[in-house]
């Protein structure tokens, strides 16, 4: 990883609009948990695991935050032409991808992880946590790595990365994997749920993933590794021009 590219990317992410958007997204599960606490808050384990942490955090907030950061980590520089200032340097492409990935994953984790833990603890207040918060915290952290890596590849593979990414999040992850259980092996969301299920001790009646925990761990690591490898290869062959 190249430290200069890493720091440069963090500075790029520090823009006020992007930070506000991230903060707003991270706030959603916390607000939902607070609203839930104001009501009857029955079936706390079931609601927290399935509605709050799976339905809102893992299905929407996690991929959206990673989509925004992953596609802009390198994609925005490619789009506006500033990428030439890092590409025309004696820096290995894998170091560039590594730095972009590390910066995007770090910022995504800074927003998603507290949102997961705080909202989960609010929703489960007054009952035993049963490893749900810990399970989803680790699952979302690993999910951050996989999603960010996938969206970085998208940003160097297509100029419409944000659009393709949104389609992937809402159509593939949100709809297709929900309808066809066979697609669970090709779903980062399902990997995350498998990991959360592995760590949590809550009863199967309250929360059960379609995918085994060990499988989820292996597949999430593979997804991140393969995506990063593809991003490096794509960047090595990346053609940059602002032709006259």
């Amino acid at each position: 990883m190249n430290l200069t590219v890493f720091m440069l990317t963090l500075q790029q992410f520090a823009g006020r609009r992007r930070s506000l958007l991230m903060f707003g997204l991270a706030l959603i599960p916390v607000i939902v948990a607070l609203v839930y606490r104001l009501g009857d808050h029955l079936d706390q384990h079931d609601w927290t695991a399935n509605i709050l942490l799976d339905g809102i955090v893992v299905t929407s907030i996690l991929p959206l935050v990673c989509l925004i950061l992953g596609t802009s980590a390198l994609g925005s520089e490619v789009e506006d032409g500033t990428a030439v200032y890092i590409l025309a340097k004696p820096v290995r492409r894998r170091e560039i991808v590594g730095a972009k990935f590390a910066a995007a994953a770090l910022v995504a984790a800074v927003f998603v992880l507290p949102a997961t833990v705080v909202s989960g603890l609010i929703a489960l207040q007054g009952v035993s946590e049963e490893g749900i918060v810990m399970g989803f915290a680790i699952a979302t952290l690993l999910g951050v790595f996989a999603y960010t890596a996938v969206f970085i590849v998208l940003s160097v593979a297509t100029s419409r990365a944000l659009l393709v990414g949104l389609g992937y999040v809402f159509i593939w992850e949100g709809l297709v994997t929900e309808l066809f259980t066979g697609s669970r092996y090709l779903s980062i969301r399902q990997y995350c749920l498998g990991i959360a299920d592995l760590i949590s001790t809550v009863s199967e009646g309250d929360f059960e993933a379609d995918l085994g925990g060990p499988e989820g761990l292996i597949l999430v690591a593979m997804a991140a590794a393969v995506a990063l490898l593809l991003a490096v290869r794509r960047l090595e062959a990346f053609e940059f021009t602002d032709t006259d």
Partner: protein, 319 residues
């Protein structure tokens, strides 16, 4: 066609290996040919890549900078392939035409970032030196977002020379600079060339190339139309057939007088003006007022009708 810089002919046994070498390079996008079978080799000195907008200058520079893969042919920098060779950038500095920079960085931070990416032993000192060279010390602590186009050009140049590269590639570097900035940048590039650097810059402005480059590559429609010493190319451009529109107090009588002059190859009498063809540009513009005066005719207008750079270039291509 092969071009060489001022230091001598390519392939001469006494001269060192070329620092920049393109051999039968073509580049196409789908069915559109952007660069067509271009070959040249360059040694230290300043080379101007001259051509109209859309001629393929940027494409050639991007291929030379290793940022674009040639569809055909090879590009070598200091004897090594340019494409997919990040180590090459230790010897190469590249200034893109695009104005966009990291708006959130100050000028100093931008150049320092560049120095760090080149893994220099003292990046801070190198950054200060490069900023001094482009005379941007006064604005170095301001954010790039607030820079004028000329200031951006200079700070981009500082970032490209921070590692003192052997080869410097600049895409339209003088765009947006004011006359004093332009002179200052030209002086800097001349100094670097005198120190033995190979500098290649693109421009669509004849005057810029004339003032800066010792060696010229004329690119038209993706092809190398002419190459070599600027004076020879300038002569070719001047001696090509020219057309003038002439208005006077008596067009008919002036036409008769002009057609007798040896600098004139043809005259066409129109309703309100004459169209005069000549292949001796300088002789004709001296002869026309003299002839008019001798005939007692008042010359009202004498305008070349085909002086656009495109027409000059298209002549060179057809030649």
């Amino acid at each position: 066609m092969t071009a060489t810089s001022q230091s001598g002919l390519s392939g001469s046994s006494a001269s060192p290996s070329p620092t920049v070498e393109l051999v039968n390079v073509s580049r196409w996008y789908g069915n559109v040919v952007a660069v067509n079978d271009v070959s040249f080799s360059l040694r230290p000195g300043i080379t101007g890549l001259l051509g109209p907008n859309g001629a393929g200058k940027s494409t050639i520079l991007h291929m030379t900078a290793g940022l674009l893969r040639p569809s055909k042919g090879t590009v070598r920098i200091a004897g090594r392939p340019a494409w997919r060779n990040h180590e090459m950038y230790r010897d190469v500095g590249f200034v893109p035409e695009k104005e966009t920079v990291y708006a959130f960085l100050t000028g100093y931070q931008f150049v320092l970032t560049s120095a760090k990416l080149f893994s220099l032993s003292d990046p801070a000192e190198a950054a200060r030196r490069a900023i001094r060279a482009v005379d941007m010390e006064a604005a170095q602590d301001r954010r790039l977002g607030g820079y004028s186009k000329g200031m951006k050009q200079r700070i981009k140049l500082a970032a490209a020379i921070v590692h003192d590269p052997q080869i410097l590639l600049l895409d339209e570097p003088l765009n947006g600079t004011d006359p004093s900035q332009r002179l200052q940048m030209m002086d800097l590039l001349r100094r670097m060339a005198a120190e033995g650097h190979t500098i290649v810059f693109s421009s669509h402005i004849l005057d810029e190339v004339e003032r800066l480059a010792e060696n010229v590559l004329v690119i038209v429609a993706g092809r190398l139309a002419a190459s070599g010493d600027f004076r020879a190319i300038r002569r070719l451009m001047t001696d090509r057939p020219h057309t003038f529109t002439v208005r006077s107090s008596d067009n008919r009588r002036l036409a008769v007088a002009l057609v007798a002059d040896e600098s004139v190859s043809g005259v066409e009498l129109n309703d309100e003006h004459l169209t005069v063809r000549t292949s001796q540009f300088a002789d004709f513009i001296r002869a026309a007022p003299r002839i008019a005066k001798t005939e007692g005719i008042r010359l009202q207008e004498l305008v070349p009708t085909d002086e656009s750079l495109e027409s000059v270039f298209s002549y060179l291509v057809k030649r």
